[in-house]
Symmetry: D2
Subunit: 142 residues, 4 copies
């Protein structure tokens, strides 16, 4: 997954702190818990752009994860503070790709690098929700 993350700037970030119940018998955050962190960070990013994950579901419109790739670089431990920084890009017509990097604070060490690919689904069919397109990909800036 080299080079897929823009090393210049991130569009959004969400700060966290490890809670003890997230650690497993090895004394470090369990591997599955990072997917919870990544999901929460994506939902916060979406919400900041006016897109409410739970609200969409209530209207029969779902954002669905279809692929995850993650490289675990460093373990997080009890009470560690960290931040998930991310960008969103489009792959093809329908795929939304979140490039998500997790850094420990305050030393800024890279903990996990992930690529999460999702699609919008309505009535069982992949589509691109207008609100998602408008929020992230419309060239309103020109």
């Amino acid at each position: 997954m080299k080079n897929i993350t823009s090393d210049t700037a991130y569009q959004y970030e969400v700060a966290f702190q490890v809670r003890d119940y997230e650690c497993d018998l090895q004394g470090v955050v369990n591997n599955a818990v990072y997917l919870h962190y990544l999901e929460h960070a994506r939902h916060e990013f979406l919400y900041a752009k006016g897109i409410d994950f739970a609200g969409l579901h209530a209207k029969g419109k779902d954002l669905v994860l279809i692929r995850i790739e993650a490289d675990y670089k460093l373990p997080l431990r009890s009470r560690d503070r960290f931040v998930v920084r991310m960008n969103i890009i489009r792959e093809g017509r329908l795929r939304l790709v979140f490039l998500q990097d997790l850094y420990r604070l305050p030393d800024e060490k890279l903990v996990l690098r992930a690529k999460a690919t999702g699609v919008c689904v309505q009535n069982g069919k992949p589509t691109l929700f207008e609100e998602v397109n408008r929020a992230f990909f419309s060239s309103a800036s020109s």
Copy 2:
């Protein structure tokens, strides 16, 4: 919570085995995970009686937990096998009380003793679903 569990017989039981991700940094099953075990055991008991928790929800009928009491007697560890044994009784007209005891296998040591109280809710109002009444409390035996 002495004497609330019939020491004679249980109506239903569900067998489990501890999965490593359920253990926390103390190397034992995390306290919250037992509520997952208890919930799953209740849903299996209900299902065995013809009541499908998710199916009911899809019809706007929800089983809702209103109180939990649990005494933690012994910690469970990686790979421990155990069983949740339980009875259901009615408290008042609307409350369903599950008396749930969790035993480690094969030594039958008591791990946790719990009392979980729930109600049926439809359109925001507590009620007693006919299917629940029929399954557990009808005196069809006479």
Copy 3:
């Protein structure tokens, strides 16, 4: 559990926000997740008093939950903000009792009222850690 919580003042509080992965198929926070919230709140309270749960464990000293009681009053949903407010009292010589009330924000509605009882354990034996006694129960104020 009437009257067990001082209605006058709380010693400590921790603020949270519901993350979507904490909600179950009923669209509300799953009952077991509240025990995670309560545990995290207790660990934060302890930490504020100089007691590090994970650090103690590394020294062979464990804080262990032996009983939980909780009344679920109101469901939390996606993105709800809330706070856990609490007091600690001693019961007998060894039991530490956390009286924990969870309020939704900003409307301050009571969501859950809990009583969590724990003990300090070292070498398999219940004891009262000196650092815990000093932090919470020494009458240094007189």
Copy 4:
């Protein structure tokens, strides 16, 4: 991840059933929960070969996940039965790669295809534990 899974035979499989608490507000198993399933399946596979994950940790020897790739093909729902089938291969001298496919039962539809890469770590250094080498990669068959 085409062609990485041998379509001929799997070395091991573990059967599961979805528990209701594993489903999120979309009514399907949450994406992070699949990593719990995969981890549990790996630990069962290891155990069947005489390798105890928790026991190794107690001796200062840890199996650590360094990369996960997963394609989500189909959602699992309440009470769905499924199986995780898998093979283990070595990549380079130190990397253990689990190729794990999750199938719904009884219809055998592919739900998730994953590649989980791990290493053995002792005293902070990657190594290959002798017991792991013996269990999976020794050519004792010749």
